[in-house]
């Protein structure tokens, strides 16, 4: 039973919180009617669903079309907690659970699964009136996290976020989803965010689960023994001082989800390929059933399904049509547009190609899960599909591929850039790992990018060939202190590389250039990575004009990766 009360996709015209787009999921028709009426009285836009799968369908079809989900815990077709998890992972929307059962254990479970609130039935109007706070809080946290985030994806979303704060208008997730903004989805999927952590009072630094970090995590998990694992134990073993127990707990949860999905895939494979009919009866029996049923519903023409199991590169060429990569439990569907979240798609495709080359287990020394399987069933079909697809993806992806061709293999540290599929296997494997760790960390080796990219992933460190900048730089009354600052901030962002990416003052200046653009405010650029940002912003205005002039020159010569829509000065 699914009714849609009205359209939703246009940005809200009323002042927040009015017009908040709520999706209510409840199998009880009486409650559904009551809640709908109550929410409408709050001036919210209500959509009702009687089934969890209908709700998921709606959410997926209209990404960014809802601000918040309210769901009953007991649903006939799916456990409410599962739905909660999925929504959190896939759409990253705040979810409120409801139940007539107020038992502590249930409430606890809800919170553990990421519910931002747990309401007891019968629900009062006044409880519903305040649900907008969860949406608001989430936005605030996102913006804060972006500010404190050392990675670059912070560059993207926040323009809308700030506009929202400024104008008092509430921009939905879809407003943010211009091509650059898929970062939001990706970041929220892959960064650590403990929604319900009450102990974090002020700024919550977002944990970036880099390859290294995740490797440590998996190592710890395997050491303890997956069955005996617990966040505290993992935390102790990992020995990462700044990591909190909550970070680990949240990551562990996602990891578990992810693994159970893998498990399911494995089982399914053993049934001799994907048969949709086989899936459904098993679905209810499995922990992550819903995830897989969803996967296979989203069939497209791809042959094969790649999974990255943390450190364990699990390549399964399932003869399925699912085109999703599950990374840390996140389901990234083919439908998503260009942007960071799609950094995985080409990776998936290239992983297929590498799978065909049968990456030997030996190259995965860190692999522990016994389930690495290389299925060559689709060997015949894969390459063409792979490369064909490589050629045809959305523009954003295209540029990803191009850039990396020149990247030396050894310089892969914690990049999120996509490797060229033609490159050697180990390279691809590494990239797979890196991609698993996600696009959040983009500490690319500056000196390894001869070609600037269009990538939204924030190649802010991508510098142009020295020749371009040097002459123009010289002609400016360049503020030397600015250079110094930039130099130090350069050190900041290259912290993951052991050597300085700059070998000459020219390069420093180049970076300086990029940063100065932010000062200009020509585009709204934020460099959250640079602690010196305030200093940069304080560059005297008299420098702006000449810089601007040169900016024009430069823009002719190459794409400036830092100039990106949706970037702004914090």
């Amino acid at each position: 039973m699914m009714e849609s009360s009205k359209g939703f996709s246009s940005p809200r015209s009323h002042a927040f919180p009015a017009g908040l787009r709520v999706l209510v999921v409840d199998d009880d028709p009486t409650w559904l009617k009551i809640l709908e009426k109550m929410l409408k009285k709050c001036s919210y836009e209500v959509t009702t669903c009687g089934l969890a799968r209908d709700a998921l369908k709606l959410l997926r079809e209209r990404k960014g079309g809802y601000d918040i989900v309210i769901s009953d815990v007991n649903m006939p077709d799916m456990d409410g907690f599962k739905l909660l998890e999925l929504v959190g992972l896939e759409m990253d929307l705040p979810v409120i659970m409801m139940s007539v059962d107020g038992e502590t254990s249930r409430v606890k479970k809800g919170v553990q699964h990421g519910a931002c609130d747990y309401l007891l039935k019968p629900i009062r109007m006044k409880e519903l009136r305040n649900i907008w706070q969860h949406v608001f809080r989430k936005r605030i946290h996102e913006i804060r996290d972006i500010e404190s985030h050392e990675g670059l994806e912070g560059l993207q979303v926040t323009k809308s976020g700030y506009d929202w704060l400024d104008d008092g208008h509430f921009f939905s997730g879809e407003d943010m989803s211009t091509p650059a903004k898929k970062r939001k989805d990706l970041e929220n999927k892959h960064d650590e965010k403990d929604l319900t952590d009450p102990s974090s009072s002020t700024k919550k630094a977002r944990v970036v689960w880099s390859v290294d970090l995740h490797q440590k995590f998996v190592k710890a998990v395997n050491q303890i023994g997956y069955d005996k694992v617990g966040p505290k134990k993992i935390l102790d073993l990992m020995n990462v001082p700044w990591l909190t127990r909550e970070n680990v707990a949240s990551h562990l949860q996602k990891y578990r989800l992810y693994l159970s999905r893998l498990q399911k895939e494995n089982d399914l494979k053993s049934y001799g390929g994907m048969k949709h009919s086989d899936l459904n009866p098993q679905d209810s029996a499995r922990a992550s059933s819903h995830q897989n049923s969803i996967n296979f519903q989203q069939n497209d023409a791809t042959n094969g399904n790649l999974r990255f199991a943390g450190n364990n590169l699990l390549i399964q060429n399932l003869n399925s049509k699912s085109n999703e990569i599950d990374t840390r439990g996140a389901i990234i569907t083919e439908k998503s547009g260009p942007g960071i979240s799609h950094s995985l798609s080409p990776l998936e495709q290239e992983m297929k190609s590498t799978a065909l080359d049968s990456i030997t287990p030996g190259s995965f020394s860190w692999r522990e899960v016994p389930e690495i399987q290389f299925h060559q069933e689709n060997a015949g079909n894969q390459p063409e599909d792979c490369f064909g697809r490589m050629a045809g993806p959305t523009g954003g992806l295209q540029s990803h591929v191009q850039v990396d061709q020149l990247l030396p293999i050894t310089s892969i540290s914690s990049r999120a850039q996509l490797p060229n599929p033609i490159e050697t296997k180990p390279l691809n494997v590494d990239y797979a790992i890196n991609s698993f760790a996600q696009a959040s960390v983009v500490k690319t080796r500056i000196d390894s990018f001869p070609v600037p990219t269009k990538s939204h992933i924030g190649n802010q460190q991508t510098i142009q060939p020295p020749s371009i900048n040097t002459p123009s730089m010289e002609s400016q009354g360049f503020n030397p202190s600015c250079i110094t600052n930039l130099g130090s901030s350069r050190r900041n962002f290259s912290s993951t590389t052991t050597e300085s990416p700059f070998t000459s003052p020219d390069e420093i200046l180049q970076v300086g250039w990029h940063q100065d653009y932010s000062c200009l405010g020509l585009q709204n650029i934020e460099f959250p990575d640079f602690g010196d940002l305030p200093i940069i912003a304080g560059i005297p205005a008299h420098l702006y004009t000449p810089l601007k002039f040169d900016y024009d020159q430069l823009s002719d010569q190459s794409e400036l990766p830092v100039i990106n829509q949706g970037l702004f000065i914090a």
Binding site: T30, W31, K41, P122
Partner: protein, 151 residues
């Protein structure tokens, strides 16, 4: 006119007694407050939905109680739903019996379940009768008859 006032007074009294005797709780008032010009019969519509849904649930529970051995999980699940439904209209006494039933499910007391279920059904049909009488009288008393926000 006078007749109407009298009817309205009767309706108000009937309504009050439903609360006083514990058949209805605060939730019912919430429903009344939701009723407005866009939904002038909101309360009655909701209650009608409740009848439909609960009839279905009661039948399921009855069926499940016929089985042997008893599947307490299933029974509990059904009753959980029924309790939720009943809470939506403020059916206080029904809810209490539901909780009792669930308690027996939890302890695996089949006897207790069967016994309590009879009480559930009894309370349910009493509530239903009273509400039907109430709405009927309210309709008779005229459009404003059902609205008594004094409590």
């Amino acid at each position: 006119m006078e007749r109407n006032n009298q009817l309205q007074r009767q309706v108000a009294l009937m309504r009050q007694s439903l609360f006083d005797q514990g058949y209805l709780d605060e939730q019912f008032v919430q429903l009344e407050e939701l009723q407005d010009d866009t939904n002038p019969n909101f309360v009655e519509e909701v209650v009608t939905l409740y009848y439909r849904d609960s009839a279905r649930l009661i039948a399921s529970i009855e069926q499940a109680l016929d089985k042997s051995p008893l599947d307490f999980n299933k029974l509990d699940s059904y009753m959980h739903q029924f309790k939720g439904s009943s809470s939506s209209i403020g059916g206080r006494k029904v809810k209490t019996e539901c909780s009792q039933f669930r308690e027996y499910c939890r302890t695996g007391n089949g006897e207790g379940c069967i016994r309590t279920f009879q009480q559930v059904k009894r309370e349910y049909s009493t509530l239903r009768k009273k509400l039907e009488a109430y709405f009927q009288l309210a309709r008779q008393a005229g459009p404003r008859g059902a609205a008594s926000r004094s409590t």
